[in-house]
Symmetry: C2
Subunit: 263 residues, 2 copies
DNA sequence: GCAAAAGTGTTCTATGTACACCCATGT
DNA sequence: ACATGGGTGTACATAGAACACTTTTGC
């Protein structure tokens, strides 16, 4: 049933490809409760010191005009991570491949999508690069939104339950910076300790004392590896260059100060 | 490119019906490209100082005789957590309701289930009680397996990818004991600090120095709350009784010694 | 020299660890 | 009395926070 079919309505982002309920290939009327499966990806990147999420302005039917996460329908037999990679590739244009991609959670509220039930698997993706604006590489109607701006007066209206998904993704990354070496995935190699510090500051949203930060990183075995080279200087003393270390789990961890923790 | 590009491949959404081969009312023939959705639950409980998982010996077609997690097919329009609760209720007999139930991850390998694609959402459930054997309450072919025994010579052969799911569930709980008050969900109220220590020892698999453990718990604000009462004695000095505190996230955290960490 | 960012030293405090010791009960 | 687990005291080691200071570049 419905194995191969091509919906006439476009692939509305937001994770859902539309199986038109009326097509003959789809014998199951809507009321029967066919569940559609999709993947939505919280693609994160640091731009100008701000943790930012990739959003797409919807041009199609449900929630037209609202901002949605890149998403794709799960194809028959396809693995979730594969659909997630497609979503990133489609939305990110020539921005490159993510340095990290992981499952986040399933979002399954029956009313999260209008009319039909669409069950979504959320992923989180991280793209490297902390300086570039990199906005030009994106398609029309696609842009990086600093996550701080999701609250402001000019905040975008997010489609479906995508606001919850973004929050979950951001919190996942925030907490993973504490006890994994994930931050090194947000910078291009080689990088300076200052680059890494910018990652923590952008993701956590508050400043890190430079001197102590440096020591913490360097005394955590396997976190980063020295190259012996120094960076070309922009201003100030040239920084030493490092590459990613070989461990995934930090010990000791880089703990956030206090109350606002995780999961 | 922009989000609206990619319209080629068929959007075949994964349709869903009852994947559970045990239910006779399963109307969906195999061999279609339909994706079945199910929920599997890693139900954990501490029995005799051992973290144990509830497994069911399969009596049906695929993987007959192997041990499987309690699982249910997702019904039309049903929420995942609801299917998870059903699975626990069905398998647990009169063991009671879980004190904790959370989403774990989706397991989606195309070959995880023979013949047809069955996509499974894994959950973790925790049942309270550290002493009772509580085995009599279970149905035929259902028992608690200490997770240490999943390795031994008499180890059960697990069905499908359930071994991976169990591992993921156990690791989730192990790490959550560090930074949340989840351990208090594994004991009945009121409890003693010693009870709580037994939880940590069972889950982590190594002893906790009693004196320091007590201090750590009591100096973590909101973790437990004193009742003023004392336990009836079995042997030794009667212990003070506590109830669960009001916070979910521990600060400071109860950190495991070193290398073996999480997620 | 000055500004700016990198990098080092030092002090203070919070938290974790080890271990000795006392307490309250049942037998 | 003494065995047993509960509970306290204390000293030491390690990790984080604060802050002063030195180093190396561009201008």
């Amino acid at each position: 049933m419905a194995a191969k079919k091509k919906s006439k309505s476009g692939p509305t982002v937001g994770g859902v490809r539309n199986p038109d309920p009326k097509t003959p290939e789809n014998p199951v009327p809507e009321a029967s409760g066919l569940t559609a499966l999709s993947v939505d990806v919280v693609v994160l990147r640091i731009i100008g010191g701000q943790l930012s999420v990739l959003l797409i302005r919807r041009g199609e039917k449900p929630h037209r005009g609202r901002w949605a996460l890149p998403g794709e329908a799960l194809e028959t037999g396809e693995r979730l991570v594969s659909a997630a990679r497609r979503a990133v590739a489609v939305a990110g244009g020539s921005t490159g491949l993510p340095n990290h991609l992981e499952q986040l959670a399933a979002f399954d509220h029956p009313d999260r999508y209008p009319k039909r039930r669409v069950l979504s698997f959320a992923f989180v993706a991280l793209m490297a690069g902390i300086d570039e604006s990199a906005d030009g590489l994106l398609g029309e109607g696609t842009r990086w939104w600093p996550i701080g701006d999701l609250e402001g007066v000019d905040r975008p209206e997010l489609a479906f339950d995508h606001r919850s998904i973004v929050d979950a993704g951001v919190e996942r990354v925030r907490s993973k910076l504490e006890y994994t070496s994930l931050a090194t995935r947000c910078v291009d190699e080689p990088f300076t300790i200052g680059d890494l510090r910018q990652v923590y500051e952008a993701v956590w949203g508050f400043p890190q004392p430079a001197a102590n930060f440096r020591r913490k990183v360097l005394t955590t075995p396997g976190f980063v590896e020295a190259t012996g080279r120094s960076a070309a200087v922009s201003i100030g003393r040239p920084a030493e260059l490092y590459v990613r270390g070989d461990i995934a789990l930090l010990h000791p961890a880089m703990l956030r100060p206090s109350g606002d923790r995780r999961r």
